[in-house]
């Protein structure tokens, strides 16, 4: 059993020899589609961590909750799970608003430094994530859920791709663009960015920092849950699977740089492309390891992330 199957390496390399422009294009498209998925996972956390400055470890559970919402809607109505966005998003917004007001504000008030707040919020939201898992296990059971909606091929450059992934990529692009425009072109968005950049000065220009942070946190939660709805169309999930998403989102947010939504988008796509390239060109077994190595390299070369601000 210890002996290695002879001939395996040679066979594998033959696949690589046949690489062509077409298959390189393939990597790019698969990578982009995956990047769209990652952007959906990470965008909400960016708002919560970048603006509201709360490292929310229960973020993945909110995503799973959104996915369950879509699943149950689909099961009950047989209509497109995308319609469930209409109630999942407002619910998630309200829930996260409440979490911020009830659980986070006391931490913000009592902590004397950003570092202490970070530690407190990591632990509190970790506890919260357990709480959510407990509730979801009780409500939905612990089994795997998978309903493969729109699991049919679409053709791009003659290659087949999952329609659900393409749809969610489209939604992700729209969401990213909308968030970017909102943050950069509206007064409310500017106010959120101001809080992100310098919360203590935001009060000086009549921004209610607590409210603005609550808004960002709630918005982040809503975006995350929306991501959950979209991802549920093609990912298998269960009540305690959220931590996988949280970890991925954390890596993307930090890779891109805290407080800059462009960074998150770029990092999501870089990661998607890198993972796909590694999976296709080197070995699928190393995809997740590659993600961490990439993360480590960026930290070494540019600790503040691709788009991040240098901390003084």
């Amino acid at each position: 059993m210890i002996t290695k199957a002879a001939g395996t390496p040679a066979i594998c390399s033959s696949g690589n020899r046949n690489r062509s422009i077409k298959s390189d294009m393939d990597i790019v498209i698969i990578g982009l589609l995956l990047g769209g998925t990652y952007a959906l996972m990470a965008m909400g956390l960016q708002l919560q961590y970048g603006v509201a400055r709360i490292m929310n470890l229960a973020n993945g559970e909110v995503l799973i909750a959104g996915a369950f919402g879509a699943f149950w809607f689909f099961l009950g109505t047989k209509a497109s799970p995308l319609w469930s966005l209409l109630f999942v998003v407002p619910c998630a917004f309200g829930l996260n608003w409440a979490i911020y007001r009830v659980l986070i504000v006391p931490l913000v008030r009592r902590s004397k430094s950003q570092g202490k707040l970070e530690v407190d919020s990591i632990l509190a939201t970790f506890g919260l994530s357990f709480f959510f898992i407990g509730i979801m296990v009780a409500a939905f059971g612990a089994q795997y859920t998978d309903y493969s909606y729109l699991s049919e091929p679409v053709f791009i450059f003659g290659q087949r791709y999952g329609l659900n992934r393409v749809v969610s990529f489209g939604a992700s692009v729209i969401l990213c663009a909308a968030l970017y425009l909102w943050l950069h072109k509206t007064r409310a968005g500017l106010a959120l960015r101001a809080v992100s950049v310098n919360p203590s000065a935001a009060g000086l220009v009549s921004i209610n920092v607590i409210n603005a942070s609550a808004l960002a946190f709630a918005l982040g939660g809503a975006v995350t849950a929306a991501g959950g709805v979209l991802l549920s169309m093609y990912l298998t999930f269960d009540a305690s699977y959220g931590v996988v998403f949280t970890l991925k989102a954390l890596i993307i947010v930090i890779l891109g740089g805290v407080g800059d939504i462009r960074g998150t988008i770029v990092a999501a796509f870089v990661l998607g492309l890198a993972e796909t390239a590694v999976a296709t060109l080197i070995d699928p077994g190393l995809t997740l390891a590659a993600a961490y190595v990439l993360f480590m390299l960026v930290l070494l070369v540019r600790p503040q992330g691709l788009f991040g601000r240098r901390v003084a």
Partner: protein, 235 residues
């Protein structure tokens, strides 16, 4: 008119301010002098509702009690603070900083008008609206900070050591600008180390020592006062 009556602030058991009463009206410059750690910054922060709330006394703006209001509400009453660290948004552009200044509801209607006024005061800001404030020099940042405060259409401007870290040549320019702002009808409450130049443009002044007001008089009289000369003018 902005008025503090018997304002006290404690840090734990340490008394930073005790029974400080001071006032300022529109169109005048009032300077508060005091050594390091006398409590000058604490006083401004207490008035503006920043972190340290007043533990005793009242703060009135045009007769309304604003003592325990949060900072974002105090701005709406027409009191704008430029703290010692400037309170600007270093990672946003000049233009965005100024727009943010006009975030208070009271200032939104006047945004265009105020913008014009600020750019007239600081022509240098007009040249580079898209520059990130982080990349600017100390003097330019101070302009952004004061400009940002002016955008909120304040009646009273609170400035915490605006000359700190500025070279003498920039200091002179700054005080000239402050005089012009005053002439436009805004009251300026100035906390300063630079006694000589601030007394030169001020109408009145207070002396703060160890959390207490130990003197109050017209600027001209203070400038001649022997005690002031010894303690703050180094003569």
């Amino acid at each position: 008119m902005l008025e503090s009556r018997n304002v006290s602030v404690f840090y734990g058991r340490h008394r930073a301010l005790e029974n400080v009463s001071a006032s300022i009206s529109k169109g005048e410059i009032v300077v508060m002098l005091g050594a390091n750690g006398a409590g000058k910054s604490t006083f401004l922060r207490a008035i503006a509702g920043q972190t340290q709330k007043a533990d005793g006394g009242t703060v009135l703006m045009d007769g309304n009690d604003i003592t325990r209001r949060p900072p974002h509400e105090i701005v709406e009453t027409g009191v704008a603070l430029v703290p010692e660290d400037r309170g600007i948004f270093a990672d946003l552009t000049v233009q965005e900083n100024l727009f943010l200044g006009a975030h208070p509801a009271r200032a939104r209607a006047l945004e265009a008008q105020n913008m014009q006024r600020v750019l007239e005061l600081f022509p240098r800001l007009k040249e580079r609206p898209k520059q990130l404030v982080r990349t600017m020099s100390g003097g330019e940042r101070q302009m952004v900070a004061i400009g940002r405060a002016m955008m909120s259409a304040p009646s009273i401007l609170l400035l915490d050591e605006p000359s700190l870290g500025l070279a003498p040549v920039l200091c002179t320019e700054l005080f000239r600008t402050l005089r012009r702002i005053k002439e436009s009808g805004v009251g300026i409450f100035l906390v300063e180390q630079n006694a000589k130049q601030s007394l030169a443009i001020a109408d009145r002044g207070y002396l703060l020592d160890n959390g207490h007001i130990v003197g109050a008089d017209s600027a001209a009289a203070l400038a001649k006062d022997e005690k002031v000369k010894a303690a703050y003018l180094g003569e």
